[in-house]
């Protein structure tokens, strides 16, 4: 195959790099100097997963759907007072342990989507690196603390079928 040098294109390429050089020198770079200045992530960014413990029924759906098996759940049954007077005591699942190992988590979000009781939420918080890898195992207290950073859920669309909770 004969070689056809694309000479105008070659100079155009040099122009592109030189232009970028000049804009960076005069107007600054596109990047930010991270630890000194921070960019706010988008409000729905997948930073960390938060747990609302009261909603969790330890149904294990999240743990079973997790591709990395990074969710650990233990629970036991407890009797709770009946809802109506004179009724039988209810049996509820009490959560003993809910850990997410962020050293394994790949932020796929399947657990958040699969949760039928709105117990797991995405939070945009992302600065939780640790010197020790074992510290990346967040227990249910720490996961509960992330709830404070979870943004408000957006309003439903007008005319959406609103299934109110009992």
């Amino acid at each position: 195959m004969p070689m056809k040098p694309k000479v105008p294109g070659l100079f155009k390429g040099l122009g592109v790099t030189l232009n970028t050089l000049m804009t960076t020198v005069t107007k600054g770079a596109n990047t930010v100097q991270y630890p000194h200045e921070k960019e706010a992530p988008p409000i729905r960014a997948r930073g960390v997963i938060a747990l609302r413990e009261d909603n969790c029924t330890s149904c294990m759906l999240c743990a079973r759907s997790c591709p990395d098996w990074c969710i650990y759940i233990e629970g036991h049954k407890e009797l709770a007072p009946p809802r109506r007077a004179g009724g039988a005591p209810r049996k509820v699942n009490k959560l003993d342990r809910f850990d997410i190992d962020y050293a394994l988590c790949m932020y796929c979000g399947i657990c958040v989507e699969v949760c039928p009781f709105d117990a797991l939420f995405w939070s945009p918080e992302y600065e939780y690196s640790e010197p020790r890898i074992a510290d990346l195992l967040h227990d249910k207290d720490k996961l509960g603390e992330w709830m404070e950073t979870v943004p408000e859920a957006p309003e439903l669309e007008a005319g959406a079928d609103k299934k109110g909770k009992k």
Partner: protein
Amino acid sequence: MLAIVIPYWGQSLLRVLGGTVAVLLPAGTIVYLFLFKMMSFMQSRLGPMEAGPYGSMQLFAEVGKWLQKEDIIPEKADRVIFKMAPLIVLVSTFLLVAVVPFGPDAYFTQFDAGVFYMLAVSSISVLGILVAGWSSANKYSLLGGLRAAGQLIAYELPMVLAVIGVVIQAGTMNLQTIVVAQNGGEIFGWNGLGNPYILTQFVGFGVFMIAVQAELTQAPFDMPIAESELVSGYMTEYSGFRFLIFFIAEFATAGVFSLIASVLFLGGWGIPFSWFSWHNINEIDDWMNVVGPLIMFTKMMALVFVIMWVRFTYPRFREDQLQRFAWKALIPISLLNIMATAVLKVAF
């Protein structure tokens, strides 16, 4: 000329110190200014900013990091040769800088076969690279070394042929005399600019710079170290201090080749002699020995800027494109250039 007489040991000491400075200072400046900063700016980022003001101490941090690393030698490597290879590459750089004139009296050595010596010595680094690739007992290294050998030999030829034009025009192979001839020369009787050979040998200059780019294995000619397919080729198995030597040699050689290109084509350390009505090298004032190196440094920086600019702009040549470009484009062009130069030399 200088009136002070320096004893022989003093001269030797000065040469060793000067040589080290002439190799390491450009290398450091090139790495910081072009590799760290210019490349980052061309990619719209700032590059190292933490170590020192604007990351100016980053180089020391990098060197410190490399010095701390373990010196790993593969089990099946040819240990002696493996250890020798980076030094061979670096030595070729030091030998190259020895022949570059920095001023009327500021040179390490000067002899009539300067251009010949320069071209001969610059190919020593090929040996170092080939040896490094072979002794690493690693197929990536071997492939990289072979590619490097093929490429460096292919591009040595256009480089030699491009320089021949200058040699014909100057009528000498002494680099110092070439500088004097350029600055003392005249263009059709007008001597306000001297006669830098880039004006007449622009084809040779172009071919020389392209060949230099390939000799330095800088992109787009970085097939031998193609990091995405050969994981740095012949340097794969090197770590710590030995890798550092390869690294220094790469950028120091870029600086030295730019020095040589500025000597051959851009008038070297000189300023047009007519400005101060000098007529030959003996009339040049002593202060040129201080200004000369600065002029050389400026010209070197300009040329390295071009080399790095090209490096950061173009993607890599394929191996067959690379060889075809050398044998079918550069060598015929430089041969034609030699013929034209010879004819014009005889005609005028």
